[in-house]
């Protein structure tokens, strides 16, 4: 058969990672990324890109751990290569601090990140309002550089990228054999998923280059993530809010909370405010679907709903999505590659 044509809808971290995995598992496929937004205007661009997993209540922990491990290993290798600076991937160490000792002192990912251990007394003294903490080293994917680097790799692999707002997956059925839905929060409209809801996050991106360590409050509402050029200060987790407009009161609250964790941030300059809607779901929707309409079939693979954890599981879920794409292709008429995938 002719090279299978795969469309990936969405150009955030999930769309681009998934497209990349598809080129790796199906070199004969023709892959096209379609999105109404590309970096620097995706939800991923607002995120700090820290590899600290979010726990999905609806997915078995061992699966989440596998996804994180694959992602961490993949990015770790790039961070230690000459491409690291272009890819925007770097190691960063720091602390997660808790006002009250958490029920679970050891998160499932503690042996995937580097050097995980409880904070010492001396370290905790820096955080007088907090009683317990964890120190570790993890990775950060700075956006836009990371997304732009993924786009560059995709182009080198022959992937086409088009700015196009897809409002109905069926619009693609005549041009493509398989459609991969990585539309993130856009899936709410695109496929009418009522289980997908936004969790609004407002962040400040500031110039404070002396901040070299990350600090995160275990409650998730105060975090300081130093990137290549800017430090991301956050945040909010407003369930169900669709507003993309920055709120000035929230800006002040975030700034105050972060300065309380790291007083030197009072000297931060050039504060930029951004808002993103985490595409949240009980569990990531990572599954095949065969849509039918008037005797015509549309093969779809869904890979969306990563909420606050997109960066942390990008590679693991992308690989699974690519595997599902392979399964779809194997069902296509004239496909001889059944056994290979």
């Amino acid at each position: 058969m002719a090279a299978p044509k795969v469309a990936v809808v969405g150009a955030g971290v999930i769309g681009l990672s998934t497209a990349l995995c598809i080129t790796e598992t199906c070199p004969s496929c023709s892959v096209t990324v379609l999105s109404d937004q590309f970096s620097p205007n995706t939800t991923s661009d607002v995120a700090a890109g820290m590899l600290i997993p979010h726990t999905y209540p609806g997915t078995p922990i061992h699966v989440q751990k596998q996804w994180f491990k694959e992602t961490f290993t993949f990015l770790f290798a790039i961070s230690n290569s000459p491409e690291a600076s272009e890819a925007g991937i770097h190691l960063v160490s720091g602390w997660q601090v808790f006002k009250n000792t958490p029920k679970k002192e050891l998160p499932f990912w503690s042996d995937v990140v580097l050097g995980f251990r409880p904070m010492s007394e001396g370290e905790l003294q820096k955080f007088p309002e907090h009683r317990f903490g964890q120190a570790f080293t993890t990775l950060k994917c700075d956006c836009p550089p990371y997304l732009l680097w993924l786009e560059k790799r995709l182009k080198a692999a022959g992937v086409q990228m088009h700015t196009r707002k897809v409002t109905d997956l069926w619009d693609l059925h005549s041009e493509y054999n398989v459609v991969v839905n990585c539309a993130g929060i856009g899936a709410h409209q695109l496929v009418g998923d009522e289980k997908l809801f936004p969790v609004r996050g407002q962040v400040l991106k500031v110039h404070a280059p002396w901040v070299k360590n990350f600090i995160r409050d275990g409650d998730g509402l105060a975090y300081i993530y130093p990137g290549i050029h800017r430090v991301t200060l956050g945040g909010t987790r407003e369930k169900g809010s669709w507003s993309l407009s920055p709120d000035p009161g929230t800006t002040k609250d975030i700034f105050d909370r972060c300065c309380s964790l790291e007083p030197s941030l009072r000297g931060a300059q050039d504060i930029k405010v951004k808002v993103g809607l985490r595409p949240s779901r009980h569990c990531v929707r990572l599954q095949r679907e065969v849509l039918s309409r008037g005797g015509v079939k549309l093969l779809v693979v869904h890979n969306y709903g990563h909420g606050a954890g997109g960066f942390s599981v990008q590679r693991g879920t992308a690989k699974e999505a690519a595997r599902l794409v392979g399964e779809c292709i194997a069902t296509l008429p004239g496909s001889s590659s059944r056994a290979k995938l």
Binding site: P82, A84, W210, P263, S264
Partner: protein
């Protein structure tokens, strides 16, 4: 009472400030002057990356171990203050790497979160089989020296751009106490065969994705003769040169090659870093810091001299402890001259 400080690097300026803070209210007549032929950004201190880290072993210099700790604690106390940014002071974490297991350093409990490296972390550094991770402090002199200068200027301390050729030059002029913080060129004021230059060269690059310091150690080559990478607030310093007895302050192309190749091998991500500047400096190396009083006589004149030099590659690391020790010596001079009530309690 006139006090002259010779030298305006980190040692000279911090000693001046420490003494002025402690004694200006006790000695209303205190007049302080700084003499130096080089001021920031042209001092040896300005070339240092600014990382607080003592040498691996203290060679039984217990005084120095205490001074290092006093400096760390003093700086740590200033971390949360509004002055920290202006001082160029911030926390930084990082790695010390070895090719074989080594005993823990004397400063393991001074820094924060000291631990050994895990096998996975060591994968990052092929060729190194053992190491430490800890969080320490950075004190960038390009900010700290101007900050000290501002504090001193506010206090009415005067600065003179002048190379002092002898103690007599200042004592003959009516100065009562001379604080000798002349660093590597102290031998020009008074011969000291134990003081030698420990020449270093560094390359400053733009590599803001590097968030950790990485110091490698080669027991055979000796301290600072093995590559190191230290990220500052704007630039990252690449180094790894220590040449004992070499007075040459010119940059060497060979040393550049050594630093660049070794650091890029250590951290491949550096290959794309843009080189901004190259610099050479002379660490004032000595078997131990010279921190003591001396009465210097010349004809009719005599002056009390407090020596505070020979801090090698750990001047920033030890500076405040030494400044306080020099201030104590100053206090004893005042007592003898009966100019002050009994010495202040140790701060």
């Amino acid at each position: 009472m006139r006090v002259a400080i010779i030298g305006a690097g980190v040692i000279g300026l911090s000693t001046a400030l420490c003494i002025h803070e402690q004694y200006h209210s006790l000695v209303p007549s205190l007049e302080m002057e700084v003499y130096a032929d080089r001021y920031t950004p042209h001092t040896t201190s300005d070339g240092a990356a600014g990382l607080w880290q003592p040498y691996l072993s203290d060679h039984s210099n217990l005084r120095e171990t205490v001074w290092n700790k006093e400096t760390f604690d003093y700086l740590l106390g200033h971390l949360g203050s509004p002055a920290a940014k202006e001082m160029g002071l911030f926390l930084i974490s990082g790695y010390n790497l070895f090719t074989q297991p080594v005993p823990d350093p004397s400063w393991k409990n001074i820094v924060l979160g000291f631990r050994n490296l895990t096998p996975k972390e060591l994968e990052l550094f092929p060729g190194y089989s053992y190491g430490w991770f800890n969080t320490a402090l950075m004190l960038e002199c390009r900010n700290y020296l101007p900050w000290l200068t501002n504090r001193l200027t506010q206090r009415g301390v005067k600065f003179f751009h002048k190379k002092v050729e002898s103690f007599q030059e200042v004592s003959g002029d009516g100065v009562d106490v001379v604080i000798n913080c002349s660093g590597v060129r102290a031998g020009e004021l008074q011969p000291d065969p134990e003081l030698q230059p420990g020449r270093g060269q560094i390359i400053k690059v733009l590599a803001p994705w590097v968030k950790h310091f990485i110091i490698t150690h080669d027991i055979e080559s000796g301290i600072y003769n093995s590559p190191y990478v230290i990220p500052g607030s704007e630039f990252t310093v690449l180094g790894g040169i220590y040449q004992h007895g070499n007075w040459n302050e010119e940059n060497s192309a060979q040393d550049h090659k050594t630093i660049w190749e070794n650091c890029c091998r250590l951290l491949p991500a550096l290959q794309k870093a843009k080189i901004v500047e190259e610099w050479s400096g002379l660490r004032p190396a000595r078997p131990c810091v010279r921190l003591e009083r001396e009465t210097v006589r010349h004809g009719h004149f005599q002056a009390e001299v407090i020596h505070n030099y020979g801090h090698g590659g750990f001047g920033i690391t030890i500076h405040w402890g030494c400044a306080m020790a020099a201030a104590r010596l100053f206090g004893s001079i005042l007592q003898e001259k009966q100019l002050a009530s009994p010495p202040q309690p140790r701060l």
